[in-house]
């Protein structure tokens, strides 16, 4: 086929293109992913029994704010990596900011605590299940975000896979934090992050295979 004929064929009947498709796909993916995670959380884990009392504690909202900021930052990363040729210059800084903030709070909490209490602040009571439950709750969002990306055109597949994992991890963590009894910054700054890094690693490994076009 001659290239001119291909050009004519592609242009014929091409019609208008719906604008903002990336935003629509991500809105749908996050909605379904969060819904899936919420259903899993409610059926398998249940929200923390003292949720009504917990929402009066400032640290509950600090925790939620950290996860929400991290989710917003990974949404920026994922949505920019889903389209060809967009600059990623701001992404590392935006991702690092919430992490550095929670680490600062963790450092302050550890410095203020008695040496004998520090291990308790770091390990809490659920450190050995927290990362795995976060990874489990991020599974629905992972599927949904990969679907969103496959309808767009990522060109750096490994990075895009990592961003998909990070975003789904953040969505899973947001839902998990309604179940999780822990409120200490040292716990959140390590085990929550570790939980989000599990789907990130999976995304990095599978990105080239799942996202190729």
């Amino acid at each position: 086929m001659r290239t001119d004929d291909l050009v004519t064929m592609l242009a014929t009947g091409a019609g208008a293109v719906q604008p903002n498709q990336a935003a629509r796909r991500y809105a749908a993916a996050l909605g379904w992913g969060a819904l899936g995670a919420a259903l899993l959380m409610v059926t398998l884990l249940g929200p923390r029994p003292d949720l009504a009392a917990a929402i009066l504690l400032p640290m509950f909202w600090v925790k939620l704010a950290f996860v929400a900021c991290f989710a917003a930052a990974s949404l920026l990363a994922a949505s920019r990596l889903s389209r060809p040729g967009l600059s990623l210059a701001r992404v590392p800084g935006v991702l690092a900011a919430p992490v550095l903030a929670i680490w600062l709070l963790a450092a302050i909490a550890l410095a203020r605590a008695e040496p004998t209490q520090r291990a308790g602040l770091f390990f809490g009571e659920t450190w050995n299940s927290c990362p795995f439950l976060i990874a489990m709750l991020s599974a629905p969002a992972f599927v949904a975000v990969v679907w969103a990306m496959r309808g767009l055109a990522p060109t750096r597949l490994r990075l895009a896979g990592a961003a998909a994992g990070l975003l789904s991890g953040a969505v899973g963590t947001l839902v998990y934090s309604l179940h999780c009894p822990e409120l200490e910054a040292p716990f959140i700054g390590f085990w929550y992050l570790l939980g989000m890094l599990i789907p990130t690693a999976v995304g990095t490994l599978l990105g080239p295979r799942l996202l190729r076009w």
Partner: protein
């Protein structure tokens, strides 16, 4: 030096090409046709420079990139430089091609290099070796017929629907999926 000239040319054309694409995305087919036509010349220069050792692949890759750009045109962000978007897609397809070839060359000795067979691309022809028409024939009917009637014969959605007995939305979906399937066939054929 040549590279500077090449980017310089698209920079000068960037505003005009971008304008054509944006009008095309809004539904102006004449503008979209002009956009693709000018873009194919730019892609040819861009890829020829990067495929100096594989001149026979250039036109195939120009067509593959055009198909990809068309299929992914919804991912263009109007606030973004057109050059960056086009080059990212063309490079992605270039790397994909080189990877496919590397895999194939591991299995087979690249005889054509050794024997120095004459290169067809010496003659500047805008003919690809790959026949997209033949690939089109391999698509299932629900994708092939909408493409043939709408995109090759230039019929409208309604006319195509009447002719094939498909619903109008099935015709649109058939065109969309068919062009994506065509791109997937190109990727998998080697």
């Amino acid at each position: 030096m040549q590279r500077m000239q090449e980017t310089g040319r698209l920079d000068a054309g960037e505003g005009r090409l971008r304008n054509l694409l944006i009008r095309g995305l809004a539904g102006d087919e004449t503008a979209y046709h002009a956009f693709l036509r000018e873009l194919s010349a730019h892609l040819r220069a861009f890829l020829r420079r990067r495929l100096v050792r594989l001149p026979d692949e250039v036109e195939d890759l120009v067509q593959e990139s055009l198909l990809a750009i068309h299929n992914q045109r919804h991912t263009y962000d109007a606030g973004q430089p057109l050059t960056a978007w086009v080059h990212a897609i063309a490079k992605y397809k270039l790397v994909d091609l080189l990877r496919r070839r590397a895999r194939r060359d591991l299995l087979n000795d690249p005889l054509d290099d050794e024997l120095g067979l004459a290169s067809a691309a010496e003659t500047d022809a805008a003919d690809a070796r790959r026949d997209l028409g033949k690939l089109l024939e391999q698509l299932p009917e629900r994708q092939r017929l909408p493409i043939v009637h709408m995109k090759l014969e230039g019929l409208s959605v309604a006319e195509t629907a009447r002719l094939t007995g498909m619903s109008e939305s099935a015709v649109k979906v058939g065109v969309h999926r068919g062009l994506k399937a065509l791109a997937a066939k190109i990727r998998g054929e080697k």
